[in-house]
């Protein structure tokens, strides 16, 4: 945040949704403060955080509404995703039920949210499965925080599902994401894997040029196919030269 460029930031309202305790707040905490907290208390209502990122030659200011997963706050969710330009739907890869909940959220978003909303499906808690199976988005993102380069590089994958606690296979989630036209990642808020990538890819997927105070005005095309998650986003012609968040 030190480099306060005179450039006007593009504001992107982003909402996190998902079952309780899948790690929504932790993902945000990792993204915004590069921190992790083992024992967090459940979010009430929604937490609000912002993070500025540089994407190519633009500044993107994420206004992140981290909603509560608890059921009793479900009815408030429309308030938060109503004008959102992007949504991150999180599930826990060690808990298959959470994927079902995530699918329900996706359905609700597709039915009721802004039709141009960018949705990313994120399987969290990658660190809990022994063999981190990878779809490491090694390309497309030299997203790195300056201070953080800890070596949690996902081991080259031989994706098998012998992971002790894994309950949701990559294939299953990825197939679903493809069908629905979502960005897809597996990530770990605890060690940081793929967290910045999620946000970078979202930023790339959003037609920043058309975004205006009214996110609903995002004119250009609907959801990007999931394949974009693997890099080669057409929007970032130059492959996200510098996606680092400031």
């Amino acid at each position: 945040m030190a480099d306060e460029t005179p450039m006007k930031a593009v504001q992107v309202k982003l909402v996190l949704l998902g079952e309780a305790a899948v790690g929504k707040s932790s993902l945000v905490l990792r993204f915004v403060q590069n921190d992790f907290n083992e024992n967090t208390s459940p979010t009430i209502g929604a937490a609000f955080l912002t993070q500025r990122c540089r994407l190519e030659n633009r500044i993107v200011k994420f206004e992140i509404w981290d909603t509560a997963g608890q059921e009793r706050f479900h009815s408030l969710a429309p308030m938060y995703y109503r004008n959102a330009a992007a949504a991150v739907v999180v599930y826990d890869i060690t808990k298959s039920a959470s994927l079902e909940k995530a699918k329900a959220w996706v359905k609700e978003l597709q039915r009721q949210a802004n039709p141009n909303i960018i949705i990313a499906l994120v399987g969290n808690k990658l660190d809990l499965v022994s063999d981190t199976p990878s779809e490491p988005p090694t390309d497309g993102s030299e997203v790195e925080r300056d201070e953080e380069d800890e070596e949690t590089t996902p081991k080259p994958a031989e994706s098998t599902e012998d992971g002790d606690s894994r309950q949701v296979s990559i294939a299953e989630a990825e197939t679903y994401a493809k069908e629905c036209g979502l960005l897809f990642f597996e990530a770990s808020a605890k060690v940081g894997t793929n967290v910045n990538e999620v946000f970078t890819e979202i930023a790339k997927a959003i037609p920043l040029d058309t975004i205006s105070p009214k996110p609903a005005a995002a004119a250009q095309g609907a959801r990007k196919p999931a394949t974009q998650a693997e890099g080669g986003v057409n929007l970032g012609e130059q492959q996200a030269k510098k996606g680092g968040c400031c």
């Binding site: 208390s41 209502g45 937490a47």
Partner: protein
């Protein structure tokens, strides 16, 4: 019904009830109730003397549903013409005795207001806040907003734990939901924080949170009120909260109203619930009130979202609830914006929405003077500009939603000034004079939103001069201070009171200045059951005995009037012009005073050429003039002498403020009279105190001394205050900034009325020691502190300020 179930039913919130023994006894209830009040024998005496809220058990036996809107109008209409809340109608009520607690007491009293309270003592185990993740909204009735606890239903826990409550308390002390309960009247249904009520506070909030006439069949309205915050007795804090505050309150209210009805209740005995008030005499109680603001006590502002909806499931046929923000911060537009964000989700989704909002607020930054803050709330970010610590008006965009470019100016009301003041547009100059000269003003409006917005604008109109008296955006007849503010005596100087109850048209008919807005025309019903007073012809507009002294700005008036005529009330530039004009009017008015004041400052050459001109908040000249460390000895502010000032006024004319000729009086004569009146009004004292304090700050700044005191009461609630900053009621503390030892700009300003001369002279005496050198109080809305052995007492009727000095 068993006793225990009664106490459960009543345990947390309500504790206040209205009982209507016969028709049209309580204007409040009956204006609301779409039923024949006479058909509501709410409470009967059990053989053992316990109360039985009958309708709770057999609601449908008691009431027959009637067409809603029609009946509302009918009853309202009826009541409007016959407001007789003061009619004594003794009724004996006994309070419940809780079977669990050994402390049993029975109290008997009569309630002329038709109010009864059920004093229930609940087992402490229920009372304790349940910490942890107990879902507050597990009690939440989905789509059941007219929810009330039923017998046997457990008390809900607070929505926030203590820590979050404390953090939210920087901005908002409490959010309460009030329900208009058919059996019990307005009750506090639930609190977010579980803040302890002061004596009588709960009732005061509950009553003040509802319109006292019916306004619509369905809809919502936002308004605000201001009440005294009465801290709970410290001794009681360690114990479970008592269930019904102020045991003697109802009786005393009754006495008040009886007094009123007999036209004798000047200092009617309002219960002043400060500790030890039991033995107070009437006069002492009135005095207690009078000194309330002078001692820097806390006010509590209530910002209300009232919602009324049809609901077939309710006996009444519709739900009437208020979402109320209670806070020490006088920031109407901020809190109305907050209510606009919270209200709809709350009434749609229930308490989980409120819980979410509270958690958001708890994360906000501290309220900091002059800060531009971004406050996330309910999926949006509110951008707002806080005021500085003084009284200077906030300038900028007045209308519209917040955005980073156009932050909300928090001290302003929500509606545009033109919209609020349009009905009295042509009289604004006279109204401004009333405010400047601390003449009391009563605002009678058809609804609480209108009157509260007007009062807030009037309060803004004379900035940077602090208001001289109490101002109440919406005063309910059940307010603690009702009888002190509105009684048969001459009203206190400087008070500005907004009301809606038609009762005030008679009760306050002797007020010298009344802004009267017409009740929206409703067909008067012929069936006036009580057949009482025919509706008086309501004079409308600004009714005053005052003769205006200053000139109107005719072109501006014409321009504004044109906009009013075409209904374009929110036109930004005109609104800006309106507000700017009166700010400048105030500034112009102050120019000669500032100029003269400068001549009183020691070490400053008395040459009049150093006039600060139009700048209302000057003070750099002063700070530089007081040479740091220099002077060492006895620099003393010279006394403010009215004759000298008038001479000064004359010799340095023409002055910026334009006066008109009146009768045979020349302009200069009118001018002199006007300034004389001003100097004899409490407004002058407030201005002078603020002025001296600023000078003290400036002096301290020059010397690089720490400034211990800042004005602006809202600051003092910031936790935790550095030692010495917090305003307290202790004499001498918080008065001021430590003036440097050398510079004895003591501010002990004794404004003394010298009878023989008929003039006001102010003595600014040198302080004997440094601690008492800190003479002047902060200048928020009329706070003046008790200073050591001196205190103000406003001789209101004389319009003069007198400082008594008790020797020894």
């Amino acid at each position: 019904m068993s006793l225990s179930s009664i106490s459960d039913f009543d345990s947390d919130a309500g504790d206040i009830s209205l009982s209507v023994p016969s028709s049209s006894n309580s204007i409040f209830l009956s204006t609301f109730a779409p039923h024949e009040p006479s058909r509501l024998p709410f409470q009967t005496h059990h053989p053992t003397g316990k109360l039985h809220p009958k309708p709770l058990l057999h609601p449908n036996e008691t009431f027959s549903p009637t067409p809603l809107a029609k009946s509302i109008t009918a009853v309202d209409e009826d009541e409007v013409s016959t407001p007789r809340p003061w009619l004594p109608k003794p009724q004996h009520v006994e309070e419940n005795i809780d079977p669990v607690t050994p402390t049993k007491f029975t109290r008997q009293f009569s309630g002329s207001l038709g109010r009864s309270r059920s004093l229930n003592i609940r087992p402490p185990s229920i009372d304790l806040p349940v910490p942890g993740p107990v879902s507050a909204s597990s009690y939440e009735p989905k789509e059941r907003m007219a929810w009330n606890r039923r017998p046997g239903e457990a008390r809900p826990p607070p929505l926030l734990d203590d820590d979050l409550g404390r953090r939210m308390g920087r901005w908002i002390q409490e959010i309460v939901v009030c329900n208009f309960d058919l059996e019990r009247g307005p009750v506090v249904e639930r609190r977010a924080v579980g803040r302890r009520w002061g004596p009588g506070e709960k009732e005061n909030v509950a009553f003040s949170s509802f319109p006292d006439t019916s306004l619509f069949a369905e809809g919502n309205i936002m308004f605000s009120f201001k009440i005294r915050h009465i801290p709970p007795d410290p001794a009681s804090l360690s114990q479970p909260e008592p269930l019904s505050p102020m045991p003697d309150r109802v009786a005393s209210m009754e006495a008040n109203f009886q007094g009123m009805s007999m036209e004798q209740g000047s200092t009617a005995p309002m219960e002043t619930p400060a500790a030890g008030s039991a033995g107070m005499s009437k006069g002492e109680k009135a005095e207690e009130y009078r000194k309330w603001d002078e001692r820097g006590r806390e006010w509590l502002y209530g910002y209300v979202w009232f919602e009324q909806r049809k609901d077939k499931d309710l006996v009444r046929g519709y739900m009437q609830k208020s979402l109320v923000i209670l806070t020490h911060l006088p920031f109407p537009s901020l809190f109305f914006t907050i209510l606009e964000r919270i209200g709809p989700p709350f009434f749609q989704h229930g308490y989980s929405a409120l819980e979410a909002a509270c958690h958001s607020i708890a994360t906000w930054q501290d309220p900091t003077p002059n800060a531009l803050l971004e406050l996330p709330l309910m999926s949006d970010v509110i951008t707002c500009q806080l005021p500085d610590t003084g009284e200077s008006p906030q300038v900028g965009n007045m209308i519209g939603w917040s955005s980073p470019e156009r932050p909300i100016l928090v001290t302003l009301p929500r509606t545009s000034p033109l919209r609020a003041l349009a009905p009295v547009l042509a009289s604004l100059w006279s109204i401004w004079e009333c405010l400047i000269l601390a003449e009391p003003i009563l605002v009678i409006a058809p609804d609480p939103k209108t009157c509260s917005e007007i009062v807030w604008w009037l309060r803004d109109l004379i900035r940077p001069i602090p208001p001289a008296g109490d101002f109440r955006p919406y005063l309910h007849i059940h307010d603690h201070d009702f009888a002190l503010l509105v009684n048969s005596n001459k009203p206190q100087a400087g008070v500005v009171v907004g009301v809606t109850n038609p009762f005030f048209r008679n009760a306050a008919s002797h007020w010298p200045n009344v802004i009267s807005l017409p009740t929206p025309s409703r067909r008067p019903l012929p069936s006036s059951t009580s057949g009482a007073s025919p509706r008086p012809d309501q004079p409308v507009g600004f009714l005053s005995r005052r003769h205006r002294s200053v000139q109107k700005d005719r072109p501006l008036l014409k321009r504004l009037q044109a906009l009013v005529d075409e209904g374009n009330l929110d036109e930004p530039s005109a609104n800006e012009a309106l507000r700017t004009h009166f700010q400048q009017l105030t500034d112009k008015m102050l120019v000669p005073l500032n100029r003269y004041f400068q001549t009183l400052v020691p070490t400053l050459s008395p040459s009049p050429s150093i006039s600060p001109g139009y700048i209302p908040t000057p003070f750099t000249p002063l700070s530089t003039s007081s040479t740091p460390g220099g002077g060492g000895g006895t620099e003393t502010l010279k006394p403010f002498s009215l004759p000298n000032f008038l001479t000064h006024l004359k010799s340095h004319g023409p002055n910026p403020l334009s006066f008109r000729t009146r009768g045979l009086s020349s302009k200069s004569r009118v001018e002199a009279d006007f300034y004389t009146s001003f100097c004899m009004s409490p407004t002058f004292a407030g201005w002078l105190s603020a002025r001296v304090e600023k000078m003290g700050i400036a002096v301290a700044n020059t010397r690089g001394d720490p400034i211990l005191s800042t004005s602006g009461s809202w600051l003092t609630h910031l936790a935790p205050p550095p030692s010495g900053v917090r305003r307290s009621s202790a004499p001498g503390v918080g008065l001021g900034f430590n003036l440097p030892p050398g510079v004895k700009v003591s501010a002990v300003a004794a404004v003394e009325r010298i009878q023989g001369e008929g003039s006001v002279r102010e003595e600014v005496s040198g302080s004997e020691d440094d601690s008492s050198a800190s003479g002047w109080r902060e200048s928020d809305e009329s706070n003046r502190d008790v200073l050591g052995d001196q205190y103000y007492s406003r001789r209101v009727s004389e319009g003069a300020v007198k400082v008594l000095r008790k020797e020894g």
